[in-house]
């Protein structure tokens, strides 16, 4: 396993996890169901990693996968209490038609994209610079070191800082509100 690729997947997970969780919770109603669905979504993403470069819009891809997974889950959910079957079915119908609503979907997808952008934007400038050079321009650490006129070690540090920051940033979030 190459270190850089692992970072890419970890980044993806850290940036998207709580946000997809929130959307799934909105669709399904409980956080437990949402967790299961979203974990499965990330697992699928990983399993289909060969096709990853074919994805044009990552945000749309992850959102759609989550929505579809929620849809399937709702479909297969057994009505537990036959006594109030009609009541549950009514509730379910409301959940279904919410999922199918295009206006609602586009509101959620747009907001998701915005939240992701903010999470990325929160990275410190230097880290971001190195991160972009490495991920977007496909340079290796020594090449970046040359271009930015810093030592390779500095580049290594920035890359790992980017990740650390992301962890920290999310942790900050947690402690701030707990």
């Amino acid at each position: 396993m190459k270190k850089g690729d692992k970072i890419a997947y970890e980044t993806l997970f850290r940036v998207y996890y709580d946000k997809l969780l929130h959307i799934a919770k909105g669709y399904l109603g409980t956080i437990e169901d949402a967790e299961e669905v979203v974990q499965n979504v990330f697992l699928k993403v990983w399993e289909r990693r060969e096709n990853f470069n074919k994805i044009v819009n990552l945000n749309n891809y992850l959102y759609t996968m989550t929505k579809n997974a929620c849809f399937d889950r709702l479909k297969h959910e057994k009505v537990k209490n036959s006594f109030s079957k009609k009541y549950y079915q009514e509730k379910k119908a409301i959940q279904y038609q919410f999922m199918m609503d295009e206006t609602a979907s586009s509101i959620l997808e747009k907001e998701l994209e915005k939240r992701i952008n903010i999470a990325i934007e929160a990275l410190p400038e230097k880290c971001k610079n190195v991160f972009i050079k490495s991920r977007v321009e496909g340079m290796n650490h020594s090449e970046i070191a040359k271009v930015l006129d810093v030592s390779k070690r500095t580049v290594d540090n920035h890359i790992s800082n980017a990740l650390k920051h992301m962890r920290l940033h999310l942790k900050e979030f947690l402690t701030l509100f707990l």
Partner: protein, 389 residues
């Protein structure tokens, strides 16, 4: 349905009775469920932080790693392949573009702009309040309409604005909604009447109708009205030349100042048309469904003929239908619909009649159809179309 109750339903603080009430309301009509969906989506969009602060990402990530570990027992060859990089790549690209054109989605979707400072809101849907302030309505946002006393009188969500029925006014206060070329907008008035405004249209209406008085609104441009029934309070649409009086019906009015005729098409119910200041049944033309009343602005005559109503309401879904329409009128309609200016370099075409229908097509497609079928050549430069001679 009160917005508050729906909010309580969404944040799980509603009582069982309230839950039942909201759910019944949702299931009553597609309109209600659409409204609920929009509110719910907006609510979810606004509460991302709630989940963020209760989520333990570390735990989630450990679980994810474990899941992958189990999966990879079977195929241990390549675990993290090159394409994975694209994940970060795409995220970063989104991040960069964010710098350039992101506008806050949540903070106060309508900015209040004093009239004098920004008179040109030509491309935006605007709402003029009683005190003269003009709010720009953001079609991808939502906002509250608040009166001068701070009472919340309506809610805007995307392309629609709904007035509530809560405040009881002692005098009429008016709002004016203006839709520029190329756009359309929905309003639900305080009496639940639904009005769809076409491009280049402005509608002035009371924020709340006063009990026992006529429900009067003022229209320039084109709108489709679905008026809530109330036989005690007639609903009157005032246009420059013509007044349309109804109790509860569905009809389309086209009253653009630049057009030669004001057209009223009745889809359902009945309407009365009169040109005098006040209503007098003896001087009123009554329409039955499936008919078009056309007021000729020059000689003030009203002619009535049977009409295919779908032709006159196609615009609501983005379509345009022409049946034996002079070319000069078609140009005007296209200008409004697509927000372009069209220069006709071939005057001979003006009075020629054409028949065509388009469902939600881009302008290029419409022009090309005219070219392919009638040999009408054109050039497009920015927002100007020139019809070549």
């Amino acid at each position: 349905m009160e917005r508050n109750k729906i909010l309580k339903y969404l944040d799980h603080s509603a009582s069982p009775t309230e839950i039942k009430e909201v759910e019944t309301w949702i299931n009553t009509s597609p309109k209600n469920s659409k409204e609920f969906n929009r509110l719910k989506a907006t609510y979810i969009a606004a509460t991302f932080d709630d989940t963020a602060k209760t989520t333990n990402v570390e735990d989630g990530y450990l679980r994810y790693k474990k899941n992958i570990g189990q999966k990879s027992q079977s195929n241990k060859t390549t675990l993290w392949t090159a394409p994975l990089k694209y994940a970060a790549t795409i995220i970063i690209i989104i991040g960069i573009s964010y710098l350039f054109y992101d506008a806050p989605f949540y903070d106060d979707a309508t900015a209040i702009v004093p009239v004098k400072k920004r008179p040109q809101n030509e491309d935006a849907i605007t709402l003029k309040l009683e005190n003269g302030n003009i709010q720009v309505i953001k079609e991808d946002g939502s906002s509250q309409v608040v009166d001068s006393e701070g009472n919340e009188i309506g809610t805007q969500q995307g392309n629609s604005l709904q007035y509530n029925n809560r405040i009881i006014p002692d005098k009429l206060t008016y709002n004016t909604l203006t839709v520029p070329y190329g756009k359309r907008f929905d309003i639900i008035l305080s009496d639940s009447s639904h009005v769809v405004l076409n491009s280049g249209t402005s509608l002035k209406y009371p924020v709340k109708f006063i009990k026992g008085k006529n429900r009067e609104v003022y229209l320039t441009g084109e709108a489709f009205f679905d008026v809530a029934k109330n036989t005690e309070q007639p609903f009157i649409v005032n246009t420059n030349e013509l007044n349309i009086r109804v109790f509860g019906t569905k009809f389309n009015v086209s009253a653009y100042p630049e057009d030669n005729a004001t057209n009223t098409v009745l889809v359902e119910g009945s309407v009365g048309l009169y040109q005098e200041e006040s209503y007098d049944s003896a001087k009123t033309t009554f329409l039955t469904p499936g008919h078009l009343a056309s007021l000729n602005k020059k000689n003030k005559g009203i002619s009535v003929e049977s009409a295919e109503t779908a032709i006159y309401t196609a615009w609501m879904t983005g379509g345009i239908i022409f049946r034996h329409v002079p070319f000069k009128n078609i140009i005007k309609k296209l200008e409004r619909h697509y927000d372009v200016s069209i220069i006709n370099g071939n005057g001979e075409l003006n009075e020629e009649l054409f028949t065509a229908s388009f469902d939600n097509q881009p302008l290029e497609r419409v022009l090309k159809t005219f070219k392919d079928n009638y040999g009408i050549d054109y050039t497009i430069h920015n927002d100007t179309v020139t019809i070549n001679h």
